[in-house]
């Protein structure tokens, strides 16, 4: 095990999970987006460090790409929506913040317990970090469950995606370039669509909370 690559890798992974927690922690959408962008950067760094360690230029390239798309492009896209037609705060979430943070802690613990076998199987320094990838996914899911705003939902979705990507990077020698590219572009597309939709909803029905969609049912 080379210390030289383990420490930066550990740190980058921890950045990803802490930013996932931050999206639950902060009510302000701007802060949430900043956390998301940091998360993308962390993910990119993970890929780059792993790529450098495995002498795999493609993986490094994927890392750079992830950094650009997830660290910069997507958050900027969403923040434009926020700046245009949303006030900067998440309304009161379905579960209050201390409780949801405790929930996030429990989910991390669960992820740790559930992936123990997998970690033991792979047994590389990178694989030790798999629990955090799974935990990030779970936290993203949890954020989608407890948050009301459309934008928060997108943030949760992206966190899920980042978690999956992180797990993939750590567990295998990295996702093939095409797949990663495809996924990233898919997400980009989804975000774009959601953005348009959210804008429409807002303009037509003056809706920001997804809970209010239930009213449209009648």
């Amino acid at each position: 095990m080379k210390v030289s690559y383990v420490t930066p890798l550990d740190l980058a992974v921890v950045v990803v999970i802490v930013t996932a927690a931050l999206t639950l922690w902060r009510q302000s959408l701007v802060a949430s987006l900043r956390a998301l962008s940091l998360q993308g950067v962390g993910l990119g760094v993970v890929a780059m460090v792993l790529g450098a360690h495995r002498r795999d230029p493609v993986l490094v390239f994927v890392g750079v790409l992830v950094l650009l798309i997830k660290g910069a492009a997507i958050p900027r896209l969403i923040s434009r929506v926020v700046a245009r037609d949303h006030p900067g705060r998440e309304g009161s979430p379905l579960i209050n913040i201390p409780a949801s943070l405790v929930g996030a802690g429990l989910l991390t613990l669960l992820a740790f317990g559930a992936t123990r076998g997998l970690v033991a199987l792979i047994a590389t320094p990178a694989a030790r970090l798999i629990p955090f990838g799974v935990a990030t996914t779970l936290i993203g899911f949890f954020a989608m469950v407890v948050r009301r705003r459309a934008v928060s939902q997108i943030v949760g979705l992206l966190t899920i995606d980042n978690g999956i990507a992180l797990t993939a990077f750590l567990a295998t020698s990295g996702v093939p370039l095409v797949v990663e590219l495809g996924v990233s572009l898919d997400v980009l597309l989804a975000v774009a669509v959601l953005r348009v939709l959210a804008g429409h909803l807002h303009r037509q029905f003056n809706i920001q909370d997804l809970d209010q969609l239930r009213d449209l049912h009648d």
Binding site: I95, N96, P98, A99, G105, L109, F112, G113, R116
Partner: protein
């Protein structure tokens, strides 16, 4: 040693008899006999602890199915000793308390019976004796909970809850123990333990779960705790001290008995379950303690909280044992016992104090109290000692327990086993959360009740407890201080009690050291240093005052934002003190709040009346028991068709049952 046993039983029976028969001097004589009985049991326990050998005695003709069988192991002796100490204090206290309540025949006899059964349960050497003593304990305490039903209708409801829960628990325990005995073809615990190696895993687990449910309900473990705050609060002072200081311990004793002695080869998940139960119990108990305004309810919830911590330690011990960390397992088991004994000492101090407050003011509602420390100086000091001890403030005994718990969890986390790590992390989180909440609960309990100004006439008319009550409270409070400053007094006894179960894990008089694990603490020197520093600072303050020529302290009216004559009603109450916690944990506690604003008819800008109502009933009772009870009631209504009052119909049922049985048995 047989004589000591005879002394215990004979004096105990004499106490019951005096309580039931004599009309004059009923209480003092009965209490005297109880003290003698408890002292006999304590001496017996100390002998067993000192020599480390079991004491056995049996009489087969008294009871069916194996007869009376006494077998006092060091572990049992530890529990007997604790029960005896609390029993002596409660009996002494009772002589004074009887002026206020609990002087009647049935109450006196039940109290004596209750005390005796508490002493006998841990002595039992076979299933029959155990269950016999256990039932006596349950029934006598039930009578005591309900004894004031004429004056207090609430106590009937409490007794009903208690009766159902305790009998349900006893049923589960009976099922488990009888099942084990049937398998072993013997009611003796030693035979059951030997035979348990041949028990299949699923069967053993079933028995364990039944026993766990029964014993956990006695120990006030969530979600089987609902009876505890009701019964502890309604029971008279000395009884609630005995219930909380001795009876709930026996639930833990039962879990150790079944999980460690009778079924020693249990799988790991048993202890994971125990840990999870412990964590939940600790958190729920602490939350309700921090938000309740009934003094004795608060203490009762705190009992749940403390039993949760004991289970956390017990669970950590079991988990470490199954992952081959015997040192950590021993440490955690010793921790569980230290926590348990500490709890008995400080909680009985507190319950006796609360009983004195109730006797003096007729109220347990802290919102009606206040300012009692001037009227009841000694009670207030003992209550303060108890409150600081339960909050784990050094140098009192609770602190040692908390420290040991932290050490146990820290070292159990060093394991590479997933279950241990997950349970350990949760346990630390639960322990940390309850620590803070307990401080709120007890700052509130002491501060609102004893400090400030009296809020009602009741509080202003209070008087100090009688001499015997003060003696009992003072002795227990002193024990809290002594075992806090020199924890080895307690740790040493616990180590002897665990001699057969676990290897010694903590040593040292002045400094507690963990054997072969890193960790040391010196409460003795720490308290010395604190006293020294206190003297230094006090000296400085006096000196400075004298140098500037001030002979006394100026007494001024407190600041009320510029308004004069603040009334005592303006003080923060227990309800308002706990309000922030209620708000923070809104999602968990789900309190009922209702704001009712009615406007004057002419204009909605003028208010006629604002009424605010808030209640914070146990969330588990509301969302688990109430729906279950409603379901049961609906079902019962449907079944009522079967019983229409016709005698012929009932006889027909009997005949049908007989026929069915005959057909089945052929």
């Amino acid at each position: 040693m047989t004589r000591l046993l005879a002394l215990t039983v004979v004096a105990g029976l004499a106490a019951i008899a005096w309580g039931a028969l004599s009309s004059r001097a009923r209480v003092p004589l009965s209490a005297l006999a109880l003290v003698v009985s408890s002292a006999g049991a304590a001496t017996l326990a100390v002998r067993v602890l000192a020599t480390g050998t079991n004491f056995a005695w049996s009489q087969t003709n008294v009871l069916p199915l194996g007869g009376l069988d006494v077998r006092l192991t060091p572990l049992g002796a530890l529990f007997v000793l604790v029960s005896a100490v609390v029993a002596i204090a409660s009996s002494v206290y009772w002589t004074g308390y009887a002026r206020h309540a609990m002087a009647g025949r049935s109450a006196s006899a039940s109290f004596a019976l209750f005390t005796l059964s508490l002493l006998v349960v841990p002595m039992a050497g076979n299933v029959t004796t155990f269950l016999f003593a256990w039932e006596l304990m349950a029934l006598s305490s039930l009578i005591l909970v309900a004894h004031d039903h004429a004056r207090r209708p609430e106590s009937i409801s409490a007794a009903r809850w208690y009766a159902v829960m305790t009998q349900g628990g006893a049923g589960a325990i009976t099922l488990a123990l009888v099942g084990l005995a049937a398998h072993a073809h013997s009611t003796r615990f030693s035979a059951i333990a030997t035979a348990s190696t041949h028990l299949s895993g699923a069967v053993a687990s079933t028995f364990f779960l039944f026993a766990l449910a029964g014993f956990a309900s006695k120990a006030g473990v969530v979600p089987l705790h609902v009876w505890l705050p009701k019964a502890h609060a309604e029971a008279p002072g000395p009884v609630s001290a005995l219930m909380s200081g001795a009876m709930v311990n026996l639930g833990v004793y039962g879990i150790i008995l079944v999980g460690r002695t009778l079924l020693p080869q249990g799988p790991q998940w048993w202890w994971l379950v125990v840990s999870l139960l412990g964590g939940t119990t600790a958190a729920v108990g602490a939350l309700y303690a921090a938000t309740s305004r009934d003094l004795k309810r608060l203490l009762a919830y705190s009992t749940s909280d403390n039993m949760g911590l004991v289970l956390l330690a017990l669970g950590a011990s079991g988990l470490s044992l199954s992952t081959q960390h015997p040192r950590v397992a021993s440490l955690a088991l010793a921790t569980a016992m230290v926590l348990l004994v500490n709890h008995s000492l400080f909680k009985s101090t507190l319950f006796l104090g609360a009983g004195a407050v109730h006797a003096a003011t007729g109220s347990r509602n802290m919102d009606e109290l206040g300012g009692l420390s001037r009227l009841m100086p000694l009670t207030s000091v003992t209550f303060l000692v108890g409150a600081l001890a339960v909050s784990a403030i050094p140098p009192l005994n609770g602190f040692t327990g908390e420290w040991l718990l932290f050490q146990s969890l820290l070292h159990s986390l060093a394991s590479h086993d997933v279950a241990s790590v997950v349970a350990g992390t949760l346990a630390v989180a639960a322990m940390a959360l309850t620590g803070g909440l307990t401080i709120i609960a007890f700052v509130k309990a002491f501060g609102i009740t004893f400090l400030g100004r009296g809020r009602t006439e009741r509080a202003l008319g209070a008087h100090e407890a009688t001499f015997s009550m003060r003696v009992a409270q003072g002795a227990l409070a002193l024990a809290c201080v002594a075992t806090g400053v020199v924890p080895y007094l307690l740790v040493g006894v616990v180590a002897r009690g665990l001699a057969g179960v676990a290897s010694p894990s903590i040593s040292g008089w002045a400094t507690l050291r963990l054997s072969s694990l890193s960790g040391a603490l010196t409460p003795l020197f720490l308290s010395g240093a604190l006293l020294g520093a206190l003297a230094l600072v006090a000296g400085w303050r006096t000196l400075v005052q004298r140098r500037h020529g001030f002979a006394n302290v100026a007494t001024l009216e407190a600041w009320g934002s510029g308004r004069h004559h603040q009334s005592p009603q303006m003080q923060y109450t227990a309800t308002s003190y706990g309000e922030p916690i209620l708000r923070v944990f809104d999602d968990v506690l789900r309190p009922d709040r209702d704001l009712d604003v009615s406007h004057v008819v002419e204009s909605r800008y003028y208010l006629e009346r604002i009424r605010y109502r808030a209640s914070n009933e146990d969330v588990i009772e509301r969302f688990l028991y109430r729906p279950a009870l409603a379901l049961l009631r609906a079902w019962a209504r449907r079944v009522r068709v079967l019983a229409n009052g016709s005698v012929h119909r009932y006889l027909a049922y009997g005949l049908a049952a007989l026929v069915v049985i005959l057909v089945i048995l052929k």
